[in-house]
Symmetry: C2
Subunit: 208 residues, 2 copies
DNA sequence: GTCTATATCGGGATAGAC
DNA sequence: GTCTATCCCGATATAGAC
C-alpha cells in the first residue's frame, strides 16, 4: 500500500492489482486479495460484483497507467533523436517500477482477446489514441533532413524500441537463467545500464 | 494432431501442449485436454498421475523444442555477421510456427520460478548448456578485426536480438491493437518482412 | 459497511467394472 | 488400457445478522 487510511474500495483495488498482475486472472484467488487488503472475502463482492468485474477494473487501471505516459512522449514536439532518448528513459523507468505489468497485460490479452477487447476500446477512446502516427511523421522528417538512413521503417523501429525496452524485464526469469547463471545481482546490474545501451543501440542502427 | 494413429500417450501430450500453451497452467482444465485428445478424463491420470506432472512434461517438451535449435547456431563456427543472420532466420521461423510458446514459457516461469527450476536445470544439463559464452567470443573477435564498434556489449546484444525476435510475436495482441488498428492482415504482412528488417537493424547498429 | 455462515458448483483425483 | 461413476476439496458467490 502506498497510502495509509485509504478507503476500502481503494485498498481492494490495490490489493487486487498486486495479486492479479502477479498470478493472472485464472491463478488468482479472491481469498488472497481479501487477505492482502485486510478485509473479508465477501466485501469484495459488495464493492465489485464478481471476480470478473474486479479483474476488469484492475486491467483497465494497469493499462491506463502504462500507455498514456509513453504516448505523451511519442506525440510531443521534439527532434527524433531526442524523442527516442526520452522515450527509452521514461519507458524503462515505468517498466522497472512495474516489472510484472507488461507480462500481465500481454498474457491476459493473449488468453482472452475478446473479453479484453471492450476494455481496451474504452480505454483508448478515453485517451484519444494514435500512438504511431506522430512518430511516423518524425521519422520521415528526419529522413528528409538526412539524419537517418532512408530504409528506416517507422513501424518496425517503433516495435523494436518497445521490444528491447520491455522484453528484458518481462522475460527476466528466462533470460536470467539462460544468460546469467540465474544470478539476480548480475541481472540487476545488467538492467541498471540498459538505458544508455538501448539508446545507443537504436540510434546507432538508424543514424546515417 | 500432426500424425494419425498416434498412441494414446502421444495424443495426450500433444493435446495437453495445445491447451497449456494457450491457457497456462491455472487456466487449463483437464476436461478440455481430454476432449481434445478424444479420450476420457481419467485416462489422463492413468498416464500422468496429476495435472502438475502433465504440465511438467509439456513445459519440458516446449522448452527443449525451443532452446536447442538456437543454441546450435549460437555455438557454431561462423563469422559474427553470418551467425547473426542465421540466428534471426532460424529463430523467427521457430517462433512464428509456435507463436504462443514464448509467452507460455515466460509467463509460467514468472508465476512459478521455483516449481519450474528443477525442470529447467534438468533440461539444461541434458543439452549441455552454455549459450552466451561462445557468442561473447565471436563478438570480441569481430571487434579485433575492426568489423564492429568497440563499445558493443555481447550480453546486451544477445538480449536485444532475442527481444526483437520474440517480443513482436509474443505481444502480438497488444501491438496489433495499438499500432495496427487491430488489423490481423496488416500485422501478418508486418511480420512477414521482419527477417530482413531485424537483421538490418542489428547489423547496422553494431557495424563500424 | 462489515462480518459469519452457508449454498453451490466446478474440477482434480480415485474406485472399480469391463 | 479404457470407460463410468463418484468422491472431495477449493473457490465463487450469496444470505443474513450486526
Amino acid at each position: 500500500m502506498t497510502e495509509l487510511n485509504k478507503d476500502t474500495e481503494g485498498k481492494i483495488l490495490e490489493a487486487a492489482q498486486d495479486v492479479f498482475t502477479e498470478k493472472g486472472m485464472s491463478g488468482t484467488r479472491m481469498q488472497e486479495i481479501a487477505d492482502k487488503a485486510g478485509i473479508n472475502k465477501s466485501l469484495l463482492h459488495y464493492y465489485y460484483r464478481s471476480k470478473e468485474k474486479l479483474f476488469g477494473a484492475v486491467f483497465k487501471t494497469v493499462l491506463t497507467r502504462f500507455l498514456p505516459k509513453t504516448l505523451k512522449i511519442l506525440n510531443a514536439e521534439m527532434p527524433l533523436f531526442e524523442k527516442i532518448e526520452k522515450f527509452v528513459d521514461a519507458y524503462l523507468d515505468i517498466i522497472m517500477k512495474n516489472p510484472s505489468a507488461p507480462i500481465f497485460l500481454i498474457n491476459e490479452m493473449h488468453k482472452n482477446p475478446n473479453g479484453i477487447a471492450s476494455i481496451m476500446i474504452n480505454a483508448f477512446t478515453d485517451m484519444g489514441f494514435h500512438p504511431a502516427e506522430r512518430f511516423a511523421v518524425d521519422v520521415e522528417t528526419a529522413k528528409k533532413q538526412g539524419l537517418i538512413r532512408d530504409d528506416v521503417n517507422a513501424k518496425h523501429l517503433f516495435v523494436n524500441m518497445m521490444s528491447i525496452c520491455i522484453f528484458p524485464v518481462a522475460a527476466r526469469p528466462l533470460l536470467q537463467r539462460i544468460g546469467f547463471d540465474n544470478n539476480s545481482k548480475d541481472y540487476d546490474l545488467f538492467l541498471s545500464v540498459r538505458k544508455t545501451e538501448v539508446r545507443n543501440f537504436i540510434i546507432n542502427s538508424i543514424k546515417k
